[in-house]
Amino acid sequence: MAVIADRAKRYGGSGLLYLVLGAVSVLSLLPFLWVILSSLKSHDELYSKHLTFWPHHWTWENYTQMFQRMVGFGLYYRNSVLVSLGTVVLTLFVGSLAAYALSRFRFRGNRVLLLIFLGTMMVPGEVGLIGQYELLSAYRLLNTLTGLTLSYSAFSLALTIFIMHSVFTGVPQELLDAARVDGCSWWEGFWQIMVPMGASGLAAAGTLVFLNSWNEFIFALTMNNWSDEARTLPVGIQLLQGQWQHWDYGVLFSSVMLSFVPVIILFLLLQKYFMRGLTAGAVKG
């Protein structure tokens, strides 16, 4: 009897846990599902007074219209990819070097510098919007992909330093010491020891930086709004908005659907490293 009660307690407990997790998953997935299904509904169905979940008539009409209406869709997509990848490369390079220095070298103000970097994460990025605008304007970097990449990199740096600092702190000092004894320079130690050891952290930081850059709207709108050639996808989607915020919901949903794709692919590819990287350094012995 005691065994049955124990089992019931154990399975009942995990059942409840699964129930809660299931409910949370449904709540998280429902908006995505809604967008996917709505992108395949006809105009009349989307605007019907009777709400439907599954489309009565499946149609690609919204996708066709989206490509017709967003003239520069391909260009905006390419720009988003370039800016996001550029930001990831630049941020990981600079951020991991900074994290390496902060975690391995003892110098005056080391701790304060780290706290300052981390402190910038607490300040909303929009606070720096006007300042960055003026800076980019002074260097004639407005309406350029380079300018936007630099801007995003500056804001992503603190997060990268934070993650990589935790990861690098977890790498045993003995490994670096051994490498030094074998004749490795600090620079070589970084590339040959720290980078391979911190690969999962780099993947996690890279994924987060990519996500932030891919989805970013307000900076892209402010810095690059005057040039069609330097526009990114989130601003491109905003162009689908009609006068007085009149949206064609079907077209909007289809554009949002297509903007998901690279993010989902990236996450699926790096999921394992992402999870490992995020938890690296969280538990220290």
């Binding site: 009349d44 209406r69 350029t144 162009l239 009149h246």
Partner: protein, 446 residues
């Protein structure tokens, strides 16, 4: 890093603007994304007019750039440094133009378009849409023409023709006053069928412009007090508040009326039968439905035949810092104010020049005009015919009016919108709610 540096250098080269190169002058034209997409179907008229202009003037190239909506205001940053990324803005409206003129950022058009203006160019436009094009120079105090309209909007009565038919009514029964509208809306109300007689945008941000002002004007014939401020103290102002509250609290309107833009979706979804709002709202519904005209009708807003309708318009302006102001003004005049007008009509917007309206009237005989004006009129597609709904709205444009005092409008409109929201939930006389609004409006001016 190397790639970034290469990208940086290449983009700097691309960003260099040389307005006159190889005998060709480049005019940089800014349109809002919605303006561009409104002309995509059926004929890509906006693009066509620009290419036709370039063909007529091989020495001018038009560089059309599409912007996200409502970002034009950021241009004031470069304008302050006496530079501009655009030579012609099509995004300015009757409200924003006053802000730019007040800042001294706009180029007066009198010298640039002297021959056309002397030939009577302004008589070609509907006077309702010329409002706010002439404004005072902040330095000298003299009035100047700072822009020309190219696209109009008008407050109309959008209605569900299909619901009227289903209930035994026809277009002849469409109400002409708000009292008639209320009476018919009561008869058409059927909550069991999720059907309401009327909807308006009562949300705080839009209440003043889309509900309060049009109703007040129909009751009183004016929307300003003796000091030129939005009237919130007349008996008609109280009557307006009371009527709109009654409609909402008695369920003549769906609850969505309080949510911004929801009223447009409720109308589109057949939840509301009458929807006094911009004619574009009705036209979009027509365009997005199969056999749209069988379902949707557009007519003059209640009371507007007598008191005129609220109008809004988009005005082409030339920034003072533009190095090619004259060429920019030519593009505006030829391509947008004349050649594009049939396209404006096809896009469901109001045509701003008189010629397409008058030439369609029975017994029309061409009047004698100067060579300049005749050549401009010749740009208007002779085959184009106005839709019946646009003709029906024309008389209400002639008496049309704009929102009062654009420089303070946003703050004043918000005050009245918020006070109405409070009034909906309070058991107080309308005069008391309006008195609160008046105190705040007076503070704005002080």
């Amino acid at each position: 890093m190397g790639l970034l540096l290469i990208g940086f250098a290449a983009e700097r080269r691309l960003n260099t603007y040389d307005p006159r190169r190889g005998g060709v002058t480049t005019v940089r034209v800014m349109v809002d994304s919605w303006q561009y997409s409104e002309f995509m179907t059926p004929d890509k008229d906006l693009e066509r007019c620009i290419r036709a202009f370039e063909k007529r003037h091989p020495e001018i190239k038009v560089d059309l750039r599409i912007m996200a909506e409502a970002n034009e205001i950021t241009l004031m940053l470069p304008w302050r440094a006496n530079t501009t990324p655009f030579d012609l803005l099509l995004t300015t409206n009757n409200e924003t133009i006053t802000r730019y003129a007040e800042g001294g950022f706009l180029e007066p058009l009198e010298d640039i378009l002297k021959p056309e203006l002397e030939a009577g160019l302004l008589r070609e436009f509907l006077p309702g849409y010329l409002q706010n094009c002439r404004l005072k120079d902040p330095q000298t105090g003299e009035e100047h023409l700072y822009g020309l309209p190219w696209l109009g909007e008008i407050m109309a009565l959008n209605y569900r023709r299909d619901v009227l038919r289903e209930n035994g009514y026809s277009d002849a029964d469409v109400p002409e006053t708000y009292q008639q509208l209320e009476a018919l809306a009561r008869k058409l109300r059927d909550p069991a069928k999720k059907q309401y007689g009327v909807t308006l945008d009562l949300s705080p941000g839009f209440f003043s412009q889309n509900a309060y002002v049009p109703v007040l004007r129909s009751f009183r014939g004016s929307v300003v007090d003796e000091r030129g401020r939005l009237d919130v103290s007349s008996p008609e102002a109280a009557k307006t508040f009371e009527m709109l509250k009654r409609w909402y609290s008695q369920g003549l309107m769906p609850k969505g009326a309080l949510t911004p833009y929801q009223s447009a979706d409720d109308f589109r979804a057949k939840i509301a039968v009458f929807f006094p709002n911009w004619q574009s709202r009705g036209f979009w519904a027509i365009r997005e439905m199969k056999d749209g005209e069988k379902h949707i009708g557009i007519g003059p807003a209640p009371g507007s035949r007598k008191a005129g309708a609220l109008v809004a318009h988009y005005i082409g302006v030339i920034p003072k810092a533009s190095p090619v102001a004259r060429e920019g003004a030519r593009v505006l005049l030829e391509a947008f104010c004349f050649d594009l007008q049939p396209g404006v009509g096809k896009a469901g917007k109001m045509i701003v020049i008189d010629y397409p309206y008058t030439r369609q009237r029975s017994g029309y005989r061409p009047d004698h005009v100067s060579k300049q004006i005749a050549s401009l009129r010749a740009l208007v597609d002779p085959a184009y015919r106005l839709p019946a709904w646009m003709e029906s709205l024309r008389p209400t444009v002639d008496k049309g009016y704009c929102i009062p005092d654009p420089l303070t409008w946003q703050r004043v409109a918000d005050i009245v919108g918020v006070e109405f929201q409070k009034y909906l939930n309070e058991d107080i006389p309308a005069t008391e709610a309006l008195a609160r609004a008046k105190r705040q409006i007076d503070a704005v001016y002080e």
